[in-house]
Structure formats: C-alpha cells, structure tokens
Amino acid sequence: MHIPDGFLDPLTAGVCYIVAVIFIVYSLYRTRASINPEIASMASILAAGIFAAQMLNWPLPGGTSLHMVGGALAGILLGPWLGGLVIFIVLLIQCLVFGDGGITALGANVLNMAIVDVLVGYLIYRAIAGKGGRPHRWVASFLGGWLGIALAGIVCGLEIGYSPSFPYGVAVTVPVMGLWHLVLGVIEGLITAFIVDYISIRSPSLILGGVLSDEPTLQV
C-alpha cells in the first residue's frame, strides 16, 4: 500500500507530512534514553528483514497481490516508538532508493504503515496477550497483524479518497481498501503470529514491546 506521487490531494499530503514528522520526533525523544547497542542491533536486523519480506509480492488468485507490511510485528517486538522508527527507515529507503512510494506521499505512507499499523498491532497485542500464555500470545499477535493492516488500509483509503474537488471519493476508496485489506490481512496476521510465537519460544528476551517480562517495557 505504498502510495505513489500523484494520488494525494496536496492538502492531504501536507497534513500527513506534519503528523509523520511529529510522530518521528516524538518517537526519537521516547527511544533516546533506552537505546543501547543491543536494542539498536535488534532494530537494524528487524528493519532489514521487513525490507526483504516486503520484496515478496504474493500474487493471489483473482488478480490481486499483496506483500507483508510488518508494522504490527515491529510494534509487538520493539514497542510503538522504536517499532515505528524501524518502519520509517524502511519506507524512507524504499522511497529514496527504489522509488517505491512517492516523495510527496511519504508522510501518508509513514502515517499508514509506521504509525497506524504499528500502534494498532501493538495495542491489540498488549490488550490480549496481557495475562495469558502461548495461546493468548498467538491470538494477540494474529489479531494485531490482521487488524493493524486492515485499519492501515482504511486510513490509506481515506487519504487517497479525500480531495476538495471530489468529496465523495472516500465512499469508493474506503470500502475497496478496507475490504481488501481485511481479507488479505489474514495472511499478515498469520505471518505475524508465527514469527512472534517463534521468537517468544526461542528467545523471549527479544520481545521488548510485549508483556513477557515483568520489567516495564523499555520503550513505553
């Protein structure tokens, strides 16, 4: 769901840029105190992994494709602030080096994938994984990945659909984006759940944004 140049009304693009800058500055402020080489290494590896995973476009029957976004995964593993920054770095490199996502739409792409997807995924995970064990974690990360992408799709639909010259666009774009991402997001949810499950069994200390340890989370 990388929006290219030309899809957004200038006002929408501008507002999204402002929201994105505020989020990035605030995230840097929130992570500054807790960042250390260990956490920074984890975040780098996750960013590289999400970048690579996004290169796999899954063509689906019916002629629609999707690729993983990974925002919810980043939020669950690193917390919303560092998780958001990880997705931001991926989006920035995709935009500048590969022309994937427009320069004018970078703010909107950050809002959808680095803010909405990350925060929704993180909050759902926190709410459900709370007290439970492995099954709770599984359901929590599945729902986080699934609904994170669905909501990101809806917000993306609002952005591309809204324009002062064509006020009813959202009535078309929001259902299209929302429904498709609700369907395709199931796959994102499954991948998110498998990865979180794998990491929480193999090396639970790597889940910083989660609720596995009794310590207060490092980023939040």
């Binding site: 769901m1 140049d5 030309g6 250390n36 920074a40 476009n57 494709s65 590969f98 994937d100 774009t173």
Partner: protein, 100 residues
C-alpha cells in the same frame, strides 16, 4: 562485528528471502500481473501516478540490465541486497552511536 554473529540465523533468513524474492516479485508478478488493492481503488477514482522521483534503482531494477526474466530476477536480487546493506549500514552507525 557482533551484529553478524549474534543474528546469524536472522541474516540467513533475510538472505533466503532475497534469493527467492524474484519468484514472487518478478516471475509471479509477471504471470499474474501485480495489482494491489491500492491500484484497484485508484483506478475506481481515476487517479494516475505522476513520477516525481523514481529512485536510483527504480522499482527494484538495476538500470542497464536487459529486460528478460533472468536479468530482471538478478536485478531484483541485487536491488534487494543493496537495500538490506543500506539499512544495516544505517543500523551499524546507530549501534555505534548508541554505545557512547
């Protein structure tokens, strides 16, 4: 470099993703036609893309390589490797800075 040894498995997984990526990103997209929901919504509204900046490696292709599927696949992998290396380089700088 501790990053490499500590996360050897994760880096291996990333390498595997990059090697198989042309199956999905080039060959699969060519067979089925890459068409994500965003394109469907944009079409319904008559929005069209305007390319202000297409990047140094536009759409994960390497300029100068020919257009057959083998070259495109190689280009896709090279683009992926470059992207991963840039991200790890940024990460490495942050790791160093955060240790001070």
């Amino acid at each position: 470099m501790s990053l490499l040894s500590r996360y050897r498995k994760a880096l291996l997984a990333i390498a595997v993703l990059l090697v198989v990526s042309p199956l999905f990103g080039v060959i699969g997209a060519d067979l089925v036609g890459y068409h994500e929901p965003l394109d469907v919504a944009a079409e319904a509204l008559g929005l069209s893309e305007s390319s202000l900046w297409s990047g140094f490696l536009p759409d994960y292709t390497v300029p100068g390589l020919s257009e057959d599927w083998l070259s495109m696949s190689m280009g896709y992998i090279i683009a992926g490797v470059i992207g991963v290396l840039i991200i790890l380089a940024i990460g490495f700088i942050i790791v160093r800075l955060s240790g001070k």
